[in-house]
């Protein structure tokens, strides 16, 4: 019979990402109420790393040349095979570029219910309940899933990563029949920076239309972000004006972010921008207009010219850290 929680681990070259520890911590807590154990699956590496130390009793691995770069059909087949082998009651995966793509496909293949981007999870009466933002975070909806397993993708930074509990995992290599990938990756274009993805970033510094040029983004926002290892972001107005790339856009038609610190420089705080960053734990707003709506949502606000504040702030961060 299906039981327990399976955590999908994303990794870089075999090293689990922060989301893996967040989800293992949550899985342990849920399993305590639900019964059953915690296991993990790693696709594209045969390393169980330290996942056992964080509570995984078994680590299923699917490795080989087909899994080195992400491919929709290879990953769909891999996870489907692991679900057959592991028979979990619940699956938790980080909401990510990859899971956005292959999880719905797995759900359709196996007729499973899937809840995307949940930010809360609890277990009661032997089942898991989730909460997820809808209408760009203007409302929350409670969800449950009537299939076994139940699939959840979890927004990064929703749960803290706990301490290691000590333990070791049994590694189980799962072999998967080869699939023909009808979508072939012919080239990977790496971004020039090596900062965390906006959706996973713990700190973000964003600039608005007020930056006035791409050069100013590079001279003001990028170094300020770098001074606290933050990922740079932008408003749509800044992106549409060509000051920052599309991949930097935060908001309803950009990325939804969930950092512990979000610094908005010269951003008015339009409802569509707030939609993307309202769950940030601490919001700092720098704007020269005291009436700017962003201040209604800020934890700390400074009414000044950003071109004066940002270089000073960068200096103060450099001294403080």
């Amino acid at each position: 019979m299906a039981s327990g929680i399976l955590v999908v681990v994303e990794h870089e070259g075999g090293q689990p990402k922060k989301t893996a520890y967040e989800l293992l911590t949550k899985a342990r807590e849920l399993a305590a109420g639900l019964g059953g154990g915690v296991s993990a699956v790693v696709i594209g590496s045969d390393s169980a790393a330290d996942l056992g130390d964080y509570g995984a009793e078994k680590v299923y691995t699917v490795s080989g040349a087909s899994y080195e770069t992400y491919g929709t059909e290879a990953y769909t087949a891999a996870l489907s095979a692991v679900l057959d082998e592991a028979q979990p009651a619940v699956v938790l995966a980080p909401a990510s570029a990859a899971s956005r793509d292959y999880f719905p496909r797995v759900a359709a293949r196996k007729g499973l219910g899937m809840a995307s981007e949940v930010t809360e999870l609890s277990s009661a009466g032997g089942t898991v309940q989730g909460k997820r933002p809808v209408y760009a975070g203007k409302a929350l909806v409670s969800v449950s899933i009537n299939s076994t397993p139940a699939l959840y993708t979890v927004r990064p930074n929703s749960f803290g990563a706990g301490e290691a509990v000590g333990g070791s995992a049994e590694a189980v290599a799962v072999s998967v029949d080869a699939v023909t990938e009808r979508s072939r990756v012919v080239e990977q274009v790496k971004s020039s920076s090596d900062v965390a993805d906006l959706t996973e970033a713990d700190r973000i510094v964003s600039g608005g239309r007020s930056l006035k040029s791409e050069d100013n983004f590079k001279a003001v926002i990028v170094p300020l972000a770098a001074s606290i290892s933050a990922t740079p972001g932008a408003s749509r107005a800044a992106v549409d004006a060509g000051y920052a790339p599309h991949s930097w856009q935060v908001g309803q038609t950009g990325k939804v972010v969930n950092p512990s610190l979000y610094i908005a420089c010269g951003i008015s705080g339009a409802i569509q921008h707030l939609a993307g960053m309202r769950t940030s734990k601490v919001i700092v707003a720098v704007n020269k207009d005291a009436e700017a709506p962003i201040f209604q949502h800020a934890t700390y606000g400074i009414v000044e010219d950003l071109f004066e504040v940002c270089p000073e702030l960068q200096k103060a961060f450099a001294e403080a850290l």
Binding site: K138, V186, K281
Partner: protein, 264 residues
Amino acid sequence: MKIGVCLKQVPATDTRIKINAEGTGIVTDEVKWEVNPYDEFALEAALLLKEAGKASEVVILTVGGSDCEQRIKDGLARGADSAIRMDDASFAGSDALGIARVLAAAATKAEVGLVLCGKQAIDGDSSQVPGMMAELLDWAQVTDISSLELDGETVTTHRAAGAGNKAVIETKLPAVLSCDKGLNTPRFASLRGIMMAKRKKIEVWGAADLGLNDADVGGTAAVLVEQGMSQPPARPAGRMIDGGSVGEKVNELVRLLREEAKVL
């Protein structure tokens, strides 16, 4: 080749969302409805392919009630050739998988060779329908695309692969593609387009036309169950840092981030 564009009606992005008294959904009385912004990118991409002579026809596919017709007409006015609205009492309460089953059946019946969707409907924000459709059709898929070129049976797309990285992907048709911002700039309807749209047909297909039943669609088939809506928790009131020079304000901010908020 015919292209199907999946188009959904959603509340405008600047809508103030109010939750109804029962806590089951939103108050829709004052909502201004629009075409889902990501579906506008999908429609524009389809129209550009047709104008480039790479597609013969663009058909809009919508699952929804007659209140969606205004949005469908908007799409027709921008240049789509025809539209099919899938509507049936038995569709009520469908989850994403149910909607995907309806759209996949419609794509098959309409004989389209390429389906373009938005990457996400900005009401439910779930990003599930395109991938589910592709699986149900047993077609290839590429989600979240920001560039698209079609050459014969091969489509080349760019997909956001996380951390600002991009994958360049070649796909053999048929396929389902979901469209992200950056793909193109959607056109507005012209006056002539609006006049021409009046003569374009919106067909309505029900469950029987699509060979679907209770096991496929509606509340009984749904595996994802919504149990009520609530307001997000209010943010605690913030604090303005005033008084003193820019330097003093900045130092106070850094102190607060360290000692009070503990995020440094």
